[in-house]
Amino acid sequence: MATSVTLKVDGDSVTLPQGTTLREACEKADHPVPTLCWHENLTPANACRACVVEVKGSRTLVASCSRVAEDGMEVWTNTERVQNARKVVAELLLSTSDATLAPDLKDLAQASGASAERFRGGATWEQPVRVDNELYVRDLSKCILCYRCVEACGADWQNTFAIQVSGRGFDAHIDAGFGRELAESDCVFCGNCVAVCPTGALIGKTEWDLRNQGAWDEERISTTTTICSYCGVGCELKLHVLDNKIVKVTSPMDNPVSHGMLCVKGRYGYEFVQSEETLVPNS
């Protein structure tokens, strides 16, 4: 059995190991495609459809994130149909959700020449922010239903299955079961959903508060890498520090131990570091 496949991307020939996705093939061929829902550590949800490409012989466009490259395929990443689909996807999302903290969506809109106004004026996903715990906030007016959080909470990472998509059509939304508050749900507050959310719809409470006070300033945030001291697994932590205070903890997505995933202690149990009380001298 052949172990590699050769295909053409926009006329350029590329040879890749069998099992490579078209998205990767396009990237290797130096004709990268935009993505919104795709994430390096998650199963492709193929929900956003920003990554569609034209494949010779296929009636519809093909989501490159989840389609495996085959020998002899001919792929185009920039035809009129592809451009139209990308642009419309961006326009539809902009007409529904608040993209202020969604850099990938903004990039897609910019690159595809999308008009934010074209499909505006109808129903949107504007809804009250849900601040029901001290660790993270759900501002689902920003959600684009990329499924990343569902996958991170489910079989891909966390296996807690605390959240799912509920409702259908335009009413589909992320839900912790029967509209419950997070504390009432099965959520264990690992924050892995927050780590992969591309829109700020799920956001750390500290970051949320600081942003509301106008005090969140990416330029002034420095990062320090360390190892989590809670248990023997040894996840790498990236501490995001503002004004000498930890304001967020993440783990690098390419870390071989954590793959970007942490537990509630590693991600949110950092307050003791900066607590004045621990500095009371022994008597």
Binding site: R49, S95, T96, A123, F170
Partner: protein
């Protein structure tokens, strides 16, 4: 050409629809004994020779599908009868299951035998309560006679919960598996990875009924009706401004005008008015104007010329007083309510189409609608989003059909 009775039993049939006598009277016991001595290859060859194509909408060659499932590697295989029937204006599977449930069931058993499945499912629309009972009674009889059971094929009925999208084959698998009925990405196709990741053969009720009557007779008999391109008969569901709404069985190739006008078929447009348009194939279908209807017959090549297809066989008839923008608005609502919400073009696109239709701007925003429609056809995951704009685009292409 007038009505034929093959898939549907003759109106004067005496035996009860779920009885052993019916099994014999319709030749289905003969079909089952005949296939039990045939190899899978021979069965597939006969199905292919008959030219049967899927009757659930996509018209995929049935023999080819059976062959891929038969050849697919896998220790478990499944067959599924798709009786979710939720397409607009489509009620032919219901009539078939009411009048002759043994046909589709025998087709299902033949399919299972052929591809090597020990387990079969009938997925039936939740609202079809009485039909489901009829199906269950028929199954019980087949169990008593030994055609269904642990030593042959186990058949289980599963009830849908009111979602059109659950009729899409991969969404249907998710539903049977107890998950949200969201369509899966294809490939892999169901023939390779279907229920619980195993090779799965899924067919529409009417397709399976065709299988049963084929094996109750033979290819030569089967091909007595129909055209060069498509042999056999088709159930059409007539509704709207038509004197005799209902389900009729007609040979492929029957002129659409005959279906609408013949005294034993549609019996003409109601109240002596003239035809405005026909929506062929349900919500996922195409509007045809009176001229196109006049020139077309119920066959794939003929309809292809008008950019249409038979789809499920639904024919919704509108007289010349109907404002199609109103119809389009209702259809837009259907899609917006039935979209599963998984992918962006369909989840938001169906809503925007509805809003534009409701605000009476279909014509003024036709360029935006065309681009949106193209993106939905190109980039939606499944057939729902891909076909949601089709009827609308068919009207934008035929401005004479919209009078506002």
């Amino acid at each position: 050409m007038s009505e034929v009775r093959r898939l549907l039993p003759r109106p004067d049939i005496q035996s009860s629809a779920t009885s052993v006598e019916r099994l014999t009277e319709r030749g289905f016991d003969h079909a089952l004994s005949r296939i039990s001595t045939m190899t899978s290859e021979d069965i597939i060859e006969e199905v292919s020779a008959s030219g049967i194509k899927g009757r659930g909408g996509a018209a995929f060659p049935t023999g080819l599908k059976w062959s891929s499932v038969y050849k697919a590697l896998g220790s478990e295989k499944y067959v599924v009868m798709n009786a979710d029937e939720s397409e607009l204006g489509t009620f032919k599977d219901r009539v078939l299951l009411e009048q002759d449930p043994l046909g589709p069931l025998v087709g299902l058993l033949i399919a299972a035998h052929c591809v090597g499945a020990r387990k079969a499912f009938c997925y039936i629309r939740g609202e079809y309560g009485e039909v489901e009972q009829n199906l269950a009674d028929a199954l019980e009889m087949l169990r008593m006679t030994g055609w269904v059971g642990p030593h042959s094929v186990e058949v289980e009925i599963r009830r849908g919960a009111g979602a059109y999208i659950a009729g899409e084959e991969t969404a249907l698998f998710n539903s049977i598996e107890g998950k949200r009925p969201e369509p899966r990405v294809k490939p892999p196709f169901p023939t390779q990875k279907g229920l619980w990741g195993s090779p799965t053969l899924i067919q529409n009720v009417e397709t399976l009924a065709n299988i049963a009557i084929l094996f109750a007779h033979d290819v030569k008999w089967f091909k007595e009706y129909g055209t060069q391109d498509t042999a056999g008969t088709k159930l059409v569901a007539l509704s709207g401004h038509i004197r005799r709404p209902g389900v009729y069985e007609v040979p492929f190739g029957t002129a659409l005008t005959d279906i609408l006008q013949k005294a034993d078929l549609g019996g003409s447009i109601t109240s002596g008015r003239s035809l405005g348009a026909v929506l062929l194939g349900g919500a996922a279908g195409t509007f045809l104007g009176p001229k196109e209807v006049e020139n077309a017959s119920l066959d794939y090549p003929s309809l292809n010329k008008a950019g249409a297809s038979i789809g499920s066989g639904a024919m919704m008839v509108f007289d010349d007083t109907v404002d199609l923008s109103w119809v389009l608005t209702r259809m837009a609502r259907f899609f917006a309510e039935e979209s599963c919400g998984q992918c962006v073009p369909c989840r938001i696109g169906t809503r925007r189409i509805l809003e534009i239709a409701e605000s009476g701007n279909l014509r003024t925003r036709s360029q935006d609608l065309r681009e949106l429609g193209q993106a939905m056809r190109d980039a939606s995951i499944c057939g729902l989003g891909q076909t949601a704009p089709v009827a609308l685009l068919s009207v934008l292409d035929r401005p004479e059909l919209m009078h506002d």
